[in-house]
C-alpha cells in the first residue's frame, strides 16, 4: 500500500505523510529542497559609493542574503543561458538598485529601499534591515540577482527547514516537513524537488542507456 497525503499546508510550510516508499527517495526530496531547488539571489554587486561605517564586503554580503521572490521557470541559470555574457541578459538575471542617503537624520536602510527592475523578483519582506546610515552617509550600488542552488551558497537555499521524520519504519511511514524561505511557496519547493529528482533520474537513465548502446555498438562492430 503506497500513499502520500498532505497533513498540513500553507505557503510557508508543508507537511506530508509518505507510506510505503523507501526512505532514500523521501530523503532525496528533503535534501533537494535544501540544495537543489533554484531561487534568485543577488550574486554580483557593483558598488558605486559607500560612505557608511559598514565595509563593502559586509554590505554586499547582507544584500546577497536577502531572499528574493522567485517565479519558477521564468529564468534560467547564468551558465545555462544562451547569452553567454558575464553580465547576463534579461533571461538569466534581474538588476536591483540601492541608492540611499541619510539626508537630515540617522536612517535605517531596509530591504524596501531596494529597487528591482523586475515586478516579481523583489525582497520577500520590506522590513529586512541592511545598514544604519548616520547623517550625510550614502550608499549607491547595483546588484545582479541570478538563479542558483543551495549547493553553491546558503543564500540560494529555498527551504529553511527540511525534515524527514520516521513514524514507523516497519511500514515505511515517514513525514516530510518543508518550510520555505519565502522565495517560493512550500508546495513549489516540493514539486520542484520532485521535478529535479525525476530529471536527474532521467539523465541517469540516459547515461546508462548510452553506455549500453555504446557497448552494443562496439559488440556489433567487432
Amino acid at each position: 500500500m503506497r500513499s502520500v497525503d498532505i497533513i498540513k499546508e500553507s505557503d510557508e510550510s508543508i507537511s506530508l505523510r509518505f507510506l510505503g516508499f523507501p526512505r532514500q527517495y523521501i530523503n532525496t526530496l528533503r535534501r533537494f529542497a535544501l540544495n537543489e531547488v533554484p531561487i534568485m539571489a543577488v550574486d554580483d554587486v557593483v558598488l558605486h559609493y559607500n560612505s557608511s561605517p559598514m565595509h563593502d564586503e559586509i554590505l554586499v554580503h547582507r544584500i546577497g542574503l536577502i531572499p528574493l521572490k522567485t517565479e519558477i521557470g521564468r529564468f534560467v541559470s547564468a551558465d545555462e543561458c544562451s547569452c553567454k555574457s558575464n553580465l547576463g541578459c534579461s533571461k538569466c538575471r534581474v538588476m536591483i538598485y540601492l541608492d540611499v542617503e541619510a539626508k537630515d537624520k540617522t536612517r535605517q536602510v531596509l530591504s524596501s529601499d531596494i529597487v528591482s527592475e523586475d515586478d516579481i523578483v523583489k525582497p520577500i519582506s520590506p522590513n529586512i534591515p541592511i545598514v544604519i546610515l548616520a547623517k550625510g552617509q550614502k550608499i549607491k550600488l547595483e546588484g545582479y540577482a541570478r538563479l542558483g542552488s543551495g549547493k553553491m551558497h546558503a543564500k540560494w537555499q529555498a527551504a529553511t527547514v527540511s525534515v524527514l521524520k520516521e513514524v514507523d519504519t516497519s511500514k515505511d511511514e515517514y513525514i516530510l516537513n518543508i518550510e520555505s524561505v519565502g522565495s517560493l511557496t512550500s508546495r513549489e519547493i516540493l514539486l520542484e524537488s520532485v521535478r529535479i529528482l525525476v530529471e536527474k533520474l532521467k539523465s541517469f537513465e540516459n547515461s546508462i542507456n548510452k553506455l549500453r548502446e555504446e557497448k552494443e555498438y562496439a559488440k556489433s562492430t567487432m
Binding site: 526512505r23 532514500q24 523521501i26 530523503n27 528533503r30 535534501r31 535544501l34 540544495n35 561605517p53 565595509h55 563593502d56 564586503e57 559586509i58 554580503h61 542574503l65 543551495g150 549547493k151 551558497h153 546558503a154 543564500k155 537555499q157 529553511t160 527547514v161 527540511s162 525534515v163 524527514l164 521524520k165 520516521e166 515517514y174 516537513n177 518550510e179
Partner: protein, 1113 residues
Amino acid sequence: MENNYWPIIYDLLQREGIARQHLTSYNEFIEYGLQSIIDEVGEIEIENAEYPYKIRLGRVKLQQPGVMELDGSITRTTPLEARLRNITYSSPIMLECEVVEDNKIIELKYIHIGDLPVMVKSNICVLNSIPENNLLENGEDPRDPGGYFIINGSEKVIIGLEDLSYNKIIVGKEEVSGSIVYSAKIYSSIVGYRAKLELIMKKDGDIVAKIPNSPVDIPLIVLMRALGLESDKDIADAISVKTEIQDELETSFENVQDITNTREAIAYISKRIAPGMLEEFQIRRAETLLDWSLLPHLGKNVENRIEKALFIGEAACKLIELKLGWIEQDDKDHYGNKVIKFAGHMLADLFRTAFRNLVRDMKYQLERSGQKRGINTVMAAVRPGIITDKLNNAIATGNWGRGRVGVTQLLDRTNYLSTISHLRRIQSPLSRSQPNFEARELHPTHFGRICPSETPEGANCGLVKNLALSAVISVSVHTAEIIEKLYELGVIHINDASNEIKANGCKIFVDGRLIGFTADGVSLANKLRFLRRNNKIHPHTSIAYSQYNNPNATKRLYINCNAGRILRPLIVLNNGKNPIDDKMLEKIIKKNLSWEDLLEMGMIELIDANEEENCYIALSPSQITEKHTHLEIFPSAILGVAASLIPYPEHNQSPRNTYESAMAKQSLGFSTPVMNFNSYVRQHFMVYPQVPLVNTKALSLLGLNDRPTGQNCIVAVLSYECYNIEDAIVVNKSSVERGLARSFFYRVYEGEAKQYPGGMKDNFEIPSVDDNIRGFRGERVYRLLESDGVVMSEAVVEGGDILIGRTSPPRFIEEYKEFETRGPYRRDTSIGVRPSENGVVDSVIMTQSTDGGKLYKVRVRDMRIPEIGDKFASRHGQKGVIGMLMKQEDMPYTEDGIVPDVIINPHAFPSRMTVGQFMESLTGKAAALAGRFVDGTAFVGEKSEDIKPILERYGFKHTGKEIMYDGRTGKKFPVDVFIGVVYYQKLHHMVADKIHARARGQVQMLTKQPTEGRARGGGLRFGEMERDCLIAYGASMVLKDRLLEESDKSDILVCERCGLLAYYDMKQRKYTCRICGDKAKVSPIIVAYAFKLLLQEMLSLNIAPRVIIKDKV
C-alpha cells in the same frame, strides 16, 4: 543562595571604574609625590668662587597635555591625536625656581624642567573634562577605562608590582647548613628609595645587623649604642622589659663588652665600614650610614636616631620571641605582608633619579660657566630632555634601571576583556626560573582580593595575578591624625610607659612605627573601628590586633595607613544583626544610595588581609550567628574579570576556568566602537558579535555585554565521521555562509618621510624605472599608487604590493666619481603589504610627526571567513579547530528542523569534567526558547532545576537530549543527542596567519642556507631527529639531498698540497694557492657552505684547517 548584595559590588565597580587603582596611584603622585621629591632636594647650591648663590625650588605645576612641534609651537594633544601621530601624551612640568643670594630672593620664574607622560583619564588628562556622552564624538571609547600611557603612539601599562610590605618587621627562620638561623627583615621605604635592614640571630645567640652600604655585619648592641642608647639597661629595655627575652641577649652583650658609649660605638662601626681612611672621614661615613642607609623611613636626621634604636629594639624583641617559640614566623605569602606598587609609585622611583640627574647637570653647568647669576642663566642650564627622555624611555621599554625589566607592557587590545584584565594584572618580582612553590600557591588571604582562577600557565603560573572584582586598593592615609586620635584614646607614649604596661600591655604600631602602649589592645582596636565606622578616621585605615597562642608573647596592635594594600568590602554585623535590609538595597539599585554612603554609615567597611585575621565572616545571611563580625557581600566577586565571564564556573574542574581565563583574552569581538579611528598595528573585529544568552552579573557591569566576543551557537554533542576527532569541531558551512564567526583583520602600515643631515630627505612618490633607484621592485607592485605616492583606498592588495611609495637618499654619501655616467642614486624604501597577507586598503591617514616629517598610516583590512583550521573555544576552556565545514543538508537535524552550527565530540567531556558547559548548553536552550537571558553567575546562577520546567513547557526533554537524524541518509540516530545553545568564541589563531609552504626561495646571506620563519618565506627545518631517522633507515641519498643539495651546496677550491682554500684568479686566468704558489695543485670540491664558512672563521682565529682530499675509488 539567598545572598543578594550584588548591587553593592555593582555600584562600587561602576563608580570607581575598572582601572581605579592606576588612576588613584597616579593622581596621588602628581598631587603629592612630585612635590615631595622636589622638596627633598629643596635647593641647589651653586658653589661658585666669586659669587655663590642658591636656586630655591618651589611649587611644581603641570600644564595641559601638549606636544612641542618642530617650529617650537605647542599643540594641545588628546589621546586620540597621540595615538594617530605616534607622539607621546605628556604634560610639561613647570617648576618654580628662585635665585637666592644671601637669603634674598632675586628673581623668580616657572621653568619647564621636562615632560611627564600623562595617564589617560587621570586628573590631568583632557578626557577628564569631557562628559562621557561626548567622548564618542572625540573619537574615544566612552567605556575605555584609562589607566595607561601613550608613548610614541603606543599604549603602555605599568603593571602593578607586588612587593613585601614596607617598614614592617617580618621574622622568619631558615635552615642553613643544619642549624636554624632566625632573622628579622625590614624593608624601609620612603618615596622612591628603599633600604633593607636585616637582623640575624647566629647559632650562638649573637644578634647582628645587616645594613645596606655596609660590607660587614654590625652587632645589634653596638648599633643601638651608636644610635644613642648608652647604658645596657636602656638597650635591654628598648628590646623588651621581660626577663626571658633579656636573658637571650647575654651573648650579644658579652661579645661587645669593650664598647660602652655612643662615641665608641660609632668609632667601631666607622672602622669597619671605611677601613684605612682618615678618622674624621670614617666617622662621617658611619654617621651617614646611620642617618641615610638605616631605616630611612624614620627620618634622615640625628634626632631620629633614638626612634631608630627603639625600632631595632622591637625587631630584636620579635626575633627573640620567635626563637623562644612564643610567636610563629611571619608568612611571607600572607597578603597582609604585601603591598602593590602601581604607576604612581613606579613613576616616583623614576622621577626621583631623573630629577637628581637634572639637578646635578644644572649644578655642573652653572658652576662651570661661572656666568652672571640670574634666572635666565638658570633657565638656560635646564635641559628638559633629561627628565623627558628618562621617563619616556623607561615607560616605552619597561626598563626601570637596576635590572628591573618588563615593568611596562603594551596594552592588550585584542578585545575589551583583554584590555580590562590587563589593567588589573599584578606581577610578582620573584624569579620565574626558580620554583618558589609557596609564592605561586593560592593563599587563603587571596580570597576576595586576587582571582583564584585567572593566572597564566607555565613559567609565570601564580606569579602573575589578577585583582578580584571586589578588591579595592588602599590609598595612603594621613598618619599624623591617626596618631593624634590614638593619644586621645589613652595610648601611653613610650617615654611615659611603666614597666608593668610595657611587659603586659599591648604595643601599638602605626605604619610599623612604635608609638606607645595600651593596657587593653582589643578594646582599643574596637574603639578605633568604631571611629572608622563613624567616619572619624579614613576608611582605608587597617586595624589589626595580633595575639598569639602563647600567653608570654607580646600583644601588638598594628594600624596601617600605607597605600597599596588590597582591601575588600564586607558588611559589618552588629551583634549578629545585618544592617542592610531590602529597602536599603532597593535604594542602592535605584542609585539613591552609593556604596560610599554605606561606608560612611558604617554598614560596610574595607578590610585588609591583616585585619581580616580578626574577623569572623559569614558567607550568607542564613549562616549568621552572634559570633560573626562580618557578612560576605557577594561570593562571586572573589573572581577576576576574566573568570567572571564563565557561566557556572563552580561546576567546572578548576583548571578549566584557568584555561578559559587565558583563552577569553584571545577571542575576537567588538573591541571598540571607534574601530574606524583606531590605528593599532594589528586589530581584529567580529562582524556579528552577540551577547551571550547565558549571562553573568559581571558581564553587564564590566561592559562586556556592549563589547561581546562571540556568538551563541547551536551545539550538538556527537561524533561525526571522524571530522571532530581530537578536539576538532564540525561547523555548519551554511551557517558560515550566512556570516557565522566572520571577522575582519586590520593591519596598519606606516611610513614617515625623515629628514637627514645635509638637507636630504625621504620623498613620497611613485618610484620610476628611469630615476636611477636602487632596489626598484618592478612596475607591477607600484600600480596601485596615486600621484602622491600612496595607495588609493579600497584598492585590493596582495602580498608585496606597495602601499606607500618612498625613496630615500643614499645611506653613505659617496665621493663624486668623474667617469660614472649615472648621477646620484636614491634607494627605494617603499612600504609594501606583508608577503603572506592580502586585503583591501581600508583607510589612509596623512599626518605630521613631531620631527616635522610627513607620516602616512595605511590600514589594510582582510575579511576572515572561518575555514578549516581556525580555532574556536567555548567559555569552559574547551578549545578546538574546525575539522570540517559541513553543508546544512549533510548535518544532523532534530525533528523541529534545527541544524547545529557546531558539532563537538563527546570525548571532550569525561576527562575534563566541564560540567559547566552542559549547564550552559541546557540553560542556553531554555533562554533561546523563553526569549530571555539566563543568569549563570558563579554560585548564585539560575539552577538547572529551575530551568528544566522551561524546557518542558516548550515541549523539550529536560535532559537537553533530542531525537536526531543523520542528514545524509535521513536515518534516525539510535540514541538521543545532547543539543543546546553554547556561546562560542573565535580565537585569533587563524590558518590564514599561519599557513606556509616553500619550495625554493630566499637564503641567508651569511650561511646561504634557507631562511627561517614564515615572514621571510623560510624553509621548514629538517632537524637533528629527522636526520637521525634517515641515518637509521640508511636513506643516504635523501639525507644528502636535504642537507646539501637543497640547502647550502657550494663548490670550493682546495689546494691538494697544503689543504687550504685556493681560488681562481680572474686576471691571470689561473687557479692559485697563496701558500704553495707554483707548486699548487688546486681541485674543486663540493661542500656545505657552512663548512666553508667554518674553515674561514677558523683561519681568522689563526688556526689552519687543512682539507686533505684523496681520489675516490
